[in-house]
């Protein structure tokens, strides 16, 4: 298959994830996952697990501490809870991405918006469903990445999910530094600006390592 623009390796998987849906996929070390924000400002909640030992998984806190910065930008190394590189952000044309905002859940929605939102679909539901096929469960939920989501922290500590800084067609490229399984929730939230109040599809393109 032909290469994706800006990626040197051949495309080995290309799929559109519907709005509100979970998605899981295995990646081998060296492969690159490109996530494309097709319609703009669609939060993509993202967890990953080492393929051969899923108690090793993405750690937002290790990643943030190692780079001394809350935001994920080009060059960010995404670390596991054991301090090992899982993926590297090799390219993105969005200024920065979030890893402190966590995933929406039915339960936290009751706090943030009211108990009338309890029955709405949420990212933790997608994470649980995506992980279920691997026999993972609630104990496997940890702080995640939110690609294309904007969570600034003001000087007084005020923090919140605000209007996005992504746009249609912008993307992030992630090179796997180990064999791993990615679990995604294409965020269904409709109560805050993380999806522009309108969840939309995203595209997942996986390429093999380039020839250099």
């Amino acid at each position: 298959m032909s290469p994706a623009p800006g990626l040197s390796g051949p495309v080995i998987h290309d799929e559109v994830v519907p709005a509100r849906a979970p998605w899981t996929h295995a990646l081998a070390r060296g492969e690159t996952l490109r996530i494309v924000d097709l319609e703009g400002n669609q939060a993509v909640d993202f967890l990953m697990y080492a393929a051969h030992d899923d108690a090793e998984r993405y750690s937002a806190q290790d990643t943030v501490a190692a780079q001394g910065n809350l935001f994920l930008r080009t060059g960010a190394v995404l670390l596991s809870n054991e301090g090992r590189p899982m993926m590297t952000v090799t390219d993105t044309n969005v200024a920065y991405h979030d890893t402190i905002g966590g995933a929406c859940s039915c339960e936290s929605n009751t706090l943030r918006y009211g108990h009338h939102t309890k029955s709405q679909h949420a990212c933790v539901e997608n994470f649980l469903q995506g992980n279920a096929r691997y026999l993972r469960n609630k104990r496997d939920m940890v702080s995640n990445i939110n690609w294309f989501m904007n969570v600034p922290v003001e000087a007084d500590g005020a923090l919140g999910i605000v209007d996005g800084i992504s746009a249609p067609g912008l993307y992030v490229d992630l090179r796997a530094e180990m064999d791993l399984v990615v679990v995604v929730s294409n965020c269904p939230q409709v109560n805050n600006p993380c999806n522009g109040f309108n969840p939309t599809p995203v595209r997942m393109i996986i390429t093999a390592p380039g020839v250099g």
């Binding site: 108690a55 090793e56 750690s59 937002a60 806190q61 290790d62 943030v64 501490a65 190692a66 001394g68 910065n69 809350l70 935001f71 809870n81 054991e82 301090g83 090992r84 920065y96 402190i100 905002g101 966590g102 995933a103 859940s105 339960e107 936290s108 009751t110 706090l111 943030r112 009211g114 108990h115 933790v124 469960n137 609630k138 104990r139 496997d140 939920m141 940890v142 702080s143 995640n144 969570v151 922290v153 000087a155 500590g157 005020a158 923090l159 919140g160 999910i161």
Partner: protein
Amino acid sequence: MSTADPYGAQAHARAMAGTRVQAMPTLPAPEGFVWEETVAAGGYATKRLNRGARLKLTDLEGDACVSLLVFNAEAPTERLNVADTTKVQWNAYLGAGRFLLSDMGRVLFSILEDEAGTHDCFCGASNEASNARKYGDGVNHGAHPNARDRFLIAAGKHGLTRKDVHPCVNLFKGVRVEADGGLAFQGGPFPAGRSLTMRAEMDVLVVLANCPHVLDPRPAYTVTPVRVTAWRGEPAALVDPIRNATPEGLRAFLNVEDYYAR
């Protein structure tokens, strides 16, 4: 004293009774208390506390760094969720009047008093690799124990494993977020004796590790003991000011009250 036979070995062992060191539990805890323990530099402690209990941490010498995990004691798959704790309270920093949230939308602890104001929800626990980079080694049986492995041992004593060790909060050592997302470390020097008092709003398992903060720039492994004190009490009353301070908090307390409505 000969330890060549069981009689001598018994006498030798029993002769240690009454020894006091700085880092040790006091049993029984003083009248009215349920936990009295000084945790060593590099050490850890864990305890089940009932709903309503007060937990006071005192930074005895000014250089403690307490990394904290919290579980629902009766169903430990419910646990501290740091992202929800900051997001739901619309604020990056812990302090008096704020609370620690579980991943089920419930309050695990309310912060009643805070003399420190320097805490951290973002940087998490040191691990063997990060301590090895800074101090030469990071193994728990060496001179530079790391917080993650302390968590693993403490959690293991409740039958919990690696999957149960979740993102933590760090107390007494803090960070502040700069305009570009950068993190400024708040490492002191701080006066001795700063304390933090929290109220358990659920029956909880607490796990504490007292290891240097992962951003601590000092080349030497620097951390000092922390005193842990707990006593019985009542959970938040319906008129409690923390319970009623914000609409998000009120709903989190309503979720706790609903959980215990049986």
